[in-house]
Symmetry: C2
């Protein structure tokens, strides 16, 4: 069966930076599934209109079209139950939903403020006006006023990761002995930054760093093929 993922790309076609698409690429690997990718830009709304969505990821799985990373993860869990589980049942999924929102609402805004000008510099030229207008409306300020310097933003970000660090002291992954979709939600945030910004978010002595290394090495180093952004 053919599987197609619409995946957000930067100016360079091979720089895939969507945290939400990374969740799904890791989930597809987790399920042992193959797919082809269509590089997509923010302004190509017409290309994914068939999915009734304005954003990626969009997955076409045979005859099934699914948009939104959470819906796609649920689709994969339901349709490939023989493959390793992403959630581990109803409560595992319910708890993972909190972790997903924590990533989106606590971490993403902090990292965005650190990397926003790096993002702006590296997105496709055709996306720049859209990105600026959209983010400036969402945060009610200019990109230039939104950005914070690493020495200002990193301490708070690293402090926010305290509960991750504490959980990883007890178990190798948020999902326990194996990575779950909760891990992929968090990992996607770091891949977003890796793709687009040279800022060092994690120090090597951080337990979260070691966790990220484990996921960069997973599936034969699949996620490590994303080259880190250079200054």
């Amino acid at each position: 069966m053919s599987r197609t993922l619409y995946d957000l790309a930067a100016a360079r076609d091979d720089v895939r930076f969507s945290p939400y698409c990374w969740r799904i690429k890791m989930a597809l690997k987790h399920k042992g599934l193959d797919w082809r990718e269509v590089p997509w830009r923010f302004t190509e709304k017409n290309v994914i209109a068939f999915a009734d969505s304005m954003t990626v990821p969009v997955l076409v799985d045979g005859d099934t079209v699914v948009a939104d990373s959470w819906n796609i993860a649920r689709h994969l869990e339901a349709h490939y139950p023989q493959a390793p589980t992403l959630f581990g049942g109803a409560q595992g999924e319910a708890h993972a939903l909190f972790i997903k929102f924590w990533c989106e609402q606590t971490l993403n805004p902090q990292i965005l403020r650190l990397i926003v000008m790096d993002l702006y510099a590296r997105i496709h030229p055709q996306d720049k006006a859209y990105f600026r207008a959209n983010r400036e409306a969402r945060f009610r300020t200019t990109l230039e006023a939104l950005v914070v310097a690493p020495d200002q933003g990193l301490p708070a970000l690293r402090a926010s990761l305290a509960p991750v660090r504490a959980a990883l002291e007890k178990q190798p992954f948020l999902g326990g002995e194996r990575a779950s979709f909760a891990d992929y939600c968090l990992f996607g945030v770091f891949q977003w930054a890796r793709a687009m910004s040279p800022i060092t978010l994690l120090e090597p002595d951080d337990r979260v760093y070691a966790w990220r290394e484990r996921l960069l090495g997973a599936f034969d180093g699949f996620a490590s093929t994303l080259a880190p952004a250079r200054a």
Copy 2:
């Protein structure tokens, strides 16, 4: 089989304010179990020395002694598997561990700073010197310098609850259709404040307020028998 819970009490014997003990009382109710309670104060270390613990909750379940709320929850899940599940399996438990730490490391310190002088006023006189010395060492400042006014502390606390609010938009409990131990970890934080401080942490139009009401009503209103602190 007899079951005994050592439960932190304030100056008044019936004011039980430990967020960690509340987790366990809700978990015991969830499992349909009975217990007797021994009111305990911070300075009564000798009373729980048999459990090799300096803090409560301590549960004596027949011949088994268990300390630490997480260990007790795991004990209840393992020993009463026929009763409703607290975790929903390995990943559910692993994800709940993150939520537990998020409550302890993100919410608790913020609420502590709001209610610390209320706590100090209401704990048992014999505990005051211990409480002051312990908390002042932990936070490296005086209680009087630690406290923040509601108009300063509440906006940040309510903002921190954003991922809870988002999850509760999709499901009635953090655990999904039913409350799980993750819910009880969060609920315990609110019971701690309810017992000891007149500050209104949640407004009635907050989705988290409605969630808390559901848990106050659970098990025939068991947790609502804790009288709210008055100014």
